[in-house]
């Protein structure tokens, strides 16, 4: 029987594993990217390939060692490189003597047939269409549960009294959600998890800075690729809000109902009216929206040589000065070190804190 694997992005693997198993597949869970993953990926990828492509290359090679022979991944229609990843991965793996089966999901709106055919191939258990839909719905609910506890961890970490508490509790509650199977179980596990997180002893008086994180989706979602930037920031007393979650695709529509009355695209248009692939335009739009919501700063995460984020990075300094919000960019690759990143983050936090104190003081005096 074939063994299936897929790209790893943060904790989402728990959902994909469940879904693929429900459809009757044997799953190889992609391991968390490690030093070895990076080494493998770098060795077998083109030098200027983007960082996510390299990590995935390494991950696939590790999964092959673990017996995987089928890879499920996503395609895309450009204009960025991500849409061509699957093709290049397959070619390189073949060159190395691994004849992998690739199941590439293209955007269903452009390729409806491809979508149906892929689902059918993966449906080893020959479940009815209704069954598949209910499995997908349940998986989606689990993904939402994972996202909501992650979001809460960003709120509690900067306020926790005993350092390391949030991370410990977070690890524990993830397992609860992982074990939940039916929808009511998932809902119950989510509630218990959130409850547990809220009970972490916190200091409500502490001055917490709020920072938005924008950038390319893979490095935003996989902590191993961004050197756990959220945790580092949390420990520095910064609450982070990521602009992207796997379940957050629909958020662009709901934005209209917020006080900003503006979608991300609308916000970005004066600066970058063109879709430049990846999430370049979103990085600009989200920076503007976060500035309007009174955030203290923004961090842009971009893979080295990432085309859309380079375009965004070129324009962001102007946005930063127009909206008076500090922006810090990290171009990530296999050489980025955690120590260097921490130093830059500490300096950035200091800057934001001083700015905030100054603002508070002037507000007191004038108002």
């Amino acid at each position: 029987m074939s063994k299936v694997t897929f790209p790893r992005m943060g904790e989402s693997w728990r959902t994909f594993k469940m879904l693929l198993e429900d459809l009757g597949n044997e799953v190889v869970v992609p391991p968390r990217p490690s030093k070895r993953t990076l080494d493998l990926g770098v060795r077998y990828s083109p030098e200027f390939a983007c960082f996510p492509l390299k990590i995935l290359m390494g991950t696939y090679l590790e999964c092959i060692e673990m017996g995987a022979d089928t890879i499920v991944t996503t395609g895309g229609v450009g204009p960025c490189r991500a849409g061509e990843y699957a093709m290049l991965h397959q070619k390189i793996l073949k060159d190395l003597g691994h004849n992998m089966k690739m199941i590439v999901f293209e955007p269903p709106r452009h390729y409806p047939i491809n979508f149906i055919r892929n689902v059918w191939t993966l449906n080893k258990a020959r479940i009815s269409i209704g069954g598949i839909i209910s499995h997908i719905k349940r998986a989606w609910r689990k993904l939402q549960a994972l996202d909501s506890v992650e979001k809460l961890s960003h709120v509690t970490r900067p306020r926790e009294i005993n350092s390391g508490n949030t991370t410990r509790v977070y690890r524990k509650v993830l397992d609860w959600i992982d074990q939940a199977y039916t929808t009511p179980q998932i809902i119950e596990a989510e509630a218990a998890a959130l409850e547990n997180m809220k009970n972490i002893p916190q200091d409500p008086q502490r001055m917490v800075l709020k920072v938005g994180i924008v950038g390319e989706i893979y490095v935003l979602l996989e902590p191993a690729s961004n050197l756990e930037i959220e945790e580092t920031l949390g420990n520095l007393g910064v609450e982070v809000e990521k602009s992207m979650f796997l379940t957050g695709w629909t958020r662009d529509n709901t934005w209209n109902e917020t006080t900003e009355r503006m979608t991300v695209t609308e916000a970005a248009t004066p600066y970058l009216p063109e879709l430049v692939g990846g999430h370049g335009r979103d990085s600009i739009g989200n920076t503007i929206l976060c500035a309007k919501r009174g955030f203290d700063g923004m961090i842009q995460l971009a893979p080295f040589t990432c085309i859309p984020e380079i375009v965004a990075r070129t324009i962001l300094p102007r946005v930063s000065s127009d909206y008076d919000i500090p922006v810090l960019t990290f171009f990530l690759d296999e050489q980025t070190g955690k120590a260097g990143m921490s130093t830059r983050l500490e300096a950035f936090t200091d800057l934001m804190r001083r700015k905030k104190l100054l603002q508070l003081r002037t507000n007191c005096l004038t108002g």
Partner: protein, 329 residues
């Protein structure tokens, strides 16, 4: 006073300058271009542009810096898609915005969007929009457009005959001169030079690659010398998906065509440091080259620091190697 429009001498300059210049001149607008890349232009570009950008984008910044004080408008169209299928590199798509928001005191930018996927008349509409910005009457704009298209046709014909862009532009200007890539010596070898027009034809950043080869008695053929129909016949080059980007797609098709035709002695791929699409393109060409091991293949990477000496050594070694192989067989 006549309006002055600046056209930076990089990126699409090598493919469309004759057309654009004709168009503006017909409207009675003076065109200022930065022309050939110089050391100074490169240095300015490196200083102004983002350090993580690719070399061609840095060069473009340098060309903008060179002319921005002398013109009323900068012409940086947002070229998205010109063939109804493939798009340009995302950096082209955001180019006007990058320039506008990261260089101080830039004159107004004419950044009309060109995307032929939007319908048959998308290009005419784009040129009408340019005319409107410059305050030219519609009939004049249409006449200028027709004339510009005619020039582009003649320019492309010259390129296909094997001329270099510089020679072809010269010829269209003066109706004299011009040679193909044969060079003075009787060429004994024939090489394909693949890469983006703004890299291989820019004699400064490519460190005179084409001239050097000519001096060694090598005839050069580039993607622009091949008839588009022959390239189109390559379909997707046996890939499940074609490359998204026009110029990368063209280079890959040229590689596919030339390797399979088997009439060349060597293939060079000139790639730019920090180029995103090239990370894919280069690997795909390399894989194609592997299948044709009888045709030697070499990748040359250029960056801001590429020196004459290093390039010469590598080229000479490659040419020698190819020549020796040829004598043996």
């Amino acid at each position: 006073m006549t309006i002055k429009v600046g056209i930076p001498g990089s990126l699409l300059y090598y493919l469309y300058y004759p057309m654009w210049r004709t168009f503006f001149n017909e409207l009675g607008v003076q065109v200022v271009t930065s022309g050939k890349t110089t050391k100074n232009i490169l240095d300015q570009g490196t200083r102004e542009a983002l350090a993580d950008a690719c070399v061609p984008i840095k060069l473009f910044y340098g060309h903008v810096m060179d002319i921005k004080e002398q013109v009323d408008y900068l012409y940086i169209p947002r070229v998205v898609c010109l063939n109804g299928k493939t798009v340009y590199c995302p950096k082209f798509l955001g180019l006007p915005d990058m320039i506008r928001y990261s260089i101080e005191n830039v004159p107004p930018i004419i950044d009309v969007r060109m995307d032929t996927r939007q319908g048959r008349f998308a290009l005419v509409k784009a040129y009408l929009a340019i005319g409107k910005i410059l305050g030219a009457p519609k009939s004049l704009v249409l006449r200028a457009y027709v004339k510009a298209v005619g020039i582009l046709y003649r320019y492309n014909r010259l390129l296909r005959k094997g001329w270099s862009p510089v020679a072809a532009m010269n010829f269209l200007d003066n109706q004299v001169g011009g040679t193909d890539f044969d060079g003075p010596l009787k060429p004994s070898l024939k090489f394909a030079v693949l890469g983006y027009p703004y890299a291989i034809y820019d004699s400064f950043i490519s460190v005179n690659l084409i001239d050097k080869l000519m001096k060694y008695g090598v005839k050069v053929i580039t993607a622009e010398n091949i008839h588009p129909t022959l390239l189109a016949l390559q379909k997707n080059c046996n890939l499940p998906k074609r490359l998204f980007w026009t110029l990368s797609d063209r280079a890959l098709k040229a590689a596919h065509y030339l390797f399979n035709q088997n009439k060349i002695d060597g293939v060079l791929h000139l790639t730019a440091f920090g180029c995103g699409p090239d990370s894919l393109l280069n690997r795909l060409i390399e894989m194609e080259a592997k299948k044709h091991s009888n045709i030697p293949f070499m990748t040359l990477m250029i960056d801001e620091q590429t020196g004459d000496a290093g390039m010469t050594t590598r080229l000479e070694a490659f040419v020698d190697m190819v020549r020796r192989r040829k004598e043996v067989h």
